[in-house]
């Protein structure tokens, strides 16, 4: 009986990190807590890495949609929105692409193991004055089901999880 318990706990200890590694929560270094009522999301910067236009737009639109869906902020302002300048409790989300691997939907569907698309993005949250509140690397991936653009959805979901931690 005791042996079974020990074996089970050992197995859990071995297996749990593999499952956690796939969740956005595992990427959190420290939980980000904010009382800000509004957020401005800037267009993803891709000067270092050449990113196809559809990926850049998809990253941005998915970010806006997922942060709005989280319900944490009263206002979610887009890049360039003039109303954001009057907002009091405003934080700004900057994202810079550091790595991009264009996979293949065909390869994923045929082989299951090959053809992964991944995007590595450095996210920075600042206050209105530009003071950094959080810096973190987030990776968006698509491994099996879905088109290449699904990696942008994966990334946006992880970022929305980070910014919408309860304060």
């Amino acid at each position: 009986m005791t042996r079974t318990r020990i074996a089970c706990s050992l197995l859990f200890a071995i297996v749990a990190p593999f499952f956690l590694a796939n969740t956005g929560l595992a990427q959190d270094k420290a939980p980000f807590k904010t009382n800000a009522s509004s957020i401005q999301i800037l267009l993803v910067d891709s000067k270092e890495v050449t990113l196809p236009a559809e990926f850049q737009v998809s990253l941005y639109e998915n970010l806006v949609a997922q942060v709005q869906k989280s319900g944490k902020f009263q206002h979610v302002y887009r890049d360039g929105d003039r109303n954001a300048t009057d907002a009091q409790d405003l934080i700004v989300l900057h994202s810079t692409v550091h790595g991009f691997k264009m996979g293949s939907e065909e390869k994923r569907q045929v082989t299951t193991v090959a053809g992964e698309t991944s995007i590595n993005i450095h996210c920075q949250i600042t206050d209105k004055a530009g003071k950094s509140l959080l810096e973190q690397d987030v990776t968006g991936k698509v491994r099996f089901l879905g088109g290449n653009l699904r990696a942008t959805y994966d990334f946006a979901k992880k970022v929305a999880q980070i910014v919408s931690q309860p304060s």
Binding site: L43, A53, N62, M102, E106
Partner: protein, 179 residues
């Protein structure tokens, strides 16, 4: 008496078959006449970005009167062409058998789904960036039948949209090798 009724029914069958054949022949002609309309791009899929339209909704993209209009069923979204700051075209491919059936087929035995994944249709992508009245940046991604995105871009530019990559440059640029 019976023979007469048999003749009648065979005549009805014949006329029905002729009518069906004529209808089938008329469908492509009608589709062609629709596609021939300048600035109208049927078979477009709005991947994401337009407000009020669901992601991956298929419909018709119309460019004209200074507007880009996407219609999917009863839903409609308009973007003024003058507010479009960038129009970019690209090429991609998608599974010929897609949707729910395509996903279900992935679980078919003996790798049947994987085999079907090899059959792919080439598509064009059209990406636009535009600003709302308060200056907020929006983006939208469309997929269209192969060879139509460049035409859509030209019409959009003629209607007042802007681009960072001119249409001539995009046409002459070497084709990027995409997996």
């Amino acid at each position: 008496m019976q023979e007469a009724s048999k003749q009648m029914s065979s005549r009805r069958l014949f006329s029905g078959a002729v009518a069906a054949a004529l209808t089938l022949l008329a469908i492509p002609c009608f589709a062609q006449s629709q596609a021939a309309q300048p600035g109208t791009f049927p078979g477009t899929v709005q991947v994401l970005g337009l407000e009020g339209i669901k992601n991956n909704a298929s419909g018709t993209l119309t460019v004209g009167k200074g507007n880009l209009e996407f219609t999917s069923g009863k839903k409609k979204a308009d973007v003024p062409a003058s507010s479009i700051s960038d129009v970019i075209t690209d090429k991609d491919s998608q599974r010929t058998i897609g949707g729910v059936i395509g996903t279900m087929s992935m679980f078919a035995p003996y790798g049947g789904g994987r085999f079907l994944s090899l059959f792919r249709t080439k598509i064009d992508t059209l990406t636009i960036e535009y600003q709302d009245p308060s200056g907020g940046l929006h983006g939208a991604v469309f997929t269209m039948p192969i060879g139509t995105a460049e035409g859509a871009k030209k019409v959009l530019l003629a209607e007042g949209a802007h681009t960072t990559i001119p249409a001539e440059m995009a046409a002459t640029a070497p084709e990027e090798k995409k997996p």
